[in-house]
């Protein structure tokens, strides 16, 4: 169980809904992962409402909580308006706030992000900011009213996994009481387990599951890895040592010479 902004969630895995081979595989992957929160977006409706209806009825049938995003927004105005439109449609004040600053890396524009976060927090939103691992930006986001942070561990869709463990460790250490969700860049279940072992509260991923040869199997694997990483963190990991330490007792060993 996981307490997030006053809501109890059964899973520490949040899953994206894009890029699956079919709606049926998306539904099966969501179930196999054990997730209780999925991300969705808003896009131009070009079929009179029918395109959105099919997807929306599928998502509603899964019985999971919705975290709408502002993916693709490059300005504060775009992100704020998209967030408000999402609240109007989805009936939730949760918003995954993305303000993209670079086309190649999809790195967040952290200046616009802080500004948009402040506007939305003042308007009653629970803002989940997609941010970098920069501590000062994190401080600004908290000052703006955010109560959860979502640092990347690598660029969106890159599957590189945690490229800066020092920064992630530092972030966890600086904000011991803030829910931290690693969002973006995870490629393998072991990556998810690694950040969970660092003490991150949850992970959000999409591409690594959706683009796997078997998305349903990969969703299940990520679900297990997240649970394993969390349990390992809670159980107290052994610190690495430079020298060998025998695990079998020395005392009482036979002497044959």
């Amino acid at each position: 169980m996981f307490e997030l902004l006053g809501t109890t969630l059964p899973s520490r895995l949040l899953l994206g809904t894009a890029q699956y081979p079919s709606p049926a595989i998306l539904a099966d992957a969501v179930k196999a992962s054990g997730t209780s929160v999925v991300t969705v977006s808003l896009r131009r409706e070009m079929a009179g409402g029918r395109a959105g209806e099919k997807f929306w009825s599928l998502i509603r049938s899964l019985g999971v909580r919705i975290l709408p995003n502002t993916a693709g927004c490059h300005s504060v105005k775009e992100a704020v308006t998209t967030a408000k439109m999402a609240r109007d449609v989805f009936g939730t004040s949760w918003i995954k706030l993305e303000v993209i600053g670079n086309h190649d890396t999809l790195q967040p524009d952290v200046f616009g992000l802080v500004e948009a976060a402040r506007i939305l927090c003042e308007d009653g939103f629970s803002v989940f900011p997609y941010t970098t691992d920069d501590l000062v930006v994190a401080e600004r986001l908290l000052e703006a009213g955010c109560r959860v942070l979502m640092p990347w561990c690598a660029p969106i869709g890159s599957a590189l996994g945690p490229v800066n463990m020092t920064a992630l460790r530092s972030m966890r250490g600086h904000f011991p009481d803030v829910p931290l969700i690693v969002d973006a860049g995870l490629g393998r279940p072991s990556h998810a387990a690694t950040v969970m072992e660092l003490g991150f509260d949850a992970v959000l991923l999409n591409t690594a599951v959706a683009r796997a040869a078997d998305p349903v199997g990969m969703a299940r694997a990520f679900g297990k890895a997240v649970d394993a990483g969390r349990e390992a963190f809670s159980s107290g990991l052994l610190e690495p040592r430079e020298v060998a330490v025998p695990s079998t007792p020395i005392f009482g060993r036979a002497v044959f010479s």
Partner: protein, 65 residues
């Protein structure tokens, strides 16, 4: 009246946002609307009066990460 709806030019007789959606055959309570980059709440579409040259966005739920 000339309007831009989701980036496409339309010449319509509709005077309100609700009439425009009906005229263009949009239906469903999962639609989100904005006029000139500002949200227009579902409940306000019937009385929201459009002006020549308005830019309208009609969005609906889609896959997202």
């Amino acid at each position: 009246m000339k309007l831009l709806v989701n980036g496409e030019a339309h010449e319509v007789a509709a005077t309100t946002l609700a009439e425009l959606l009906a005229a263009l055959d949009y239906e469903g309570d999962w639609l989100a609307t904005a006029v000139n980059s500002d949200l227009v709440h579902k409940a306000n579409r019937a009385e929201f009066r459009l002006s020549d040259g308005d830019r309208i966005e009609v969005l609906s739920p889609m896959q997202g990460g």
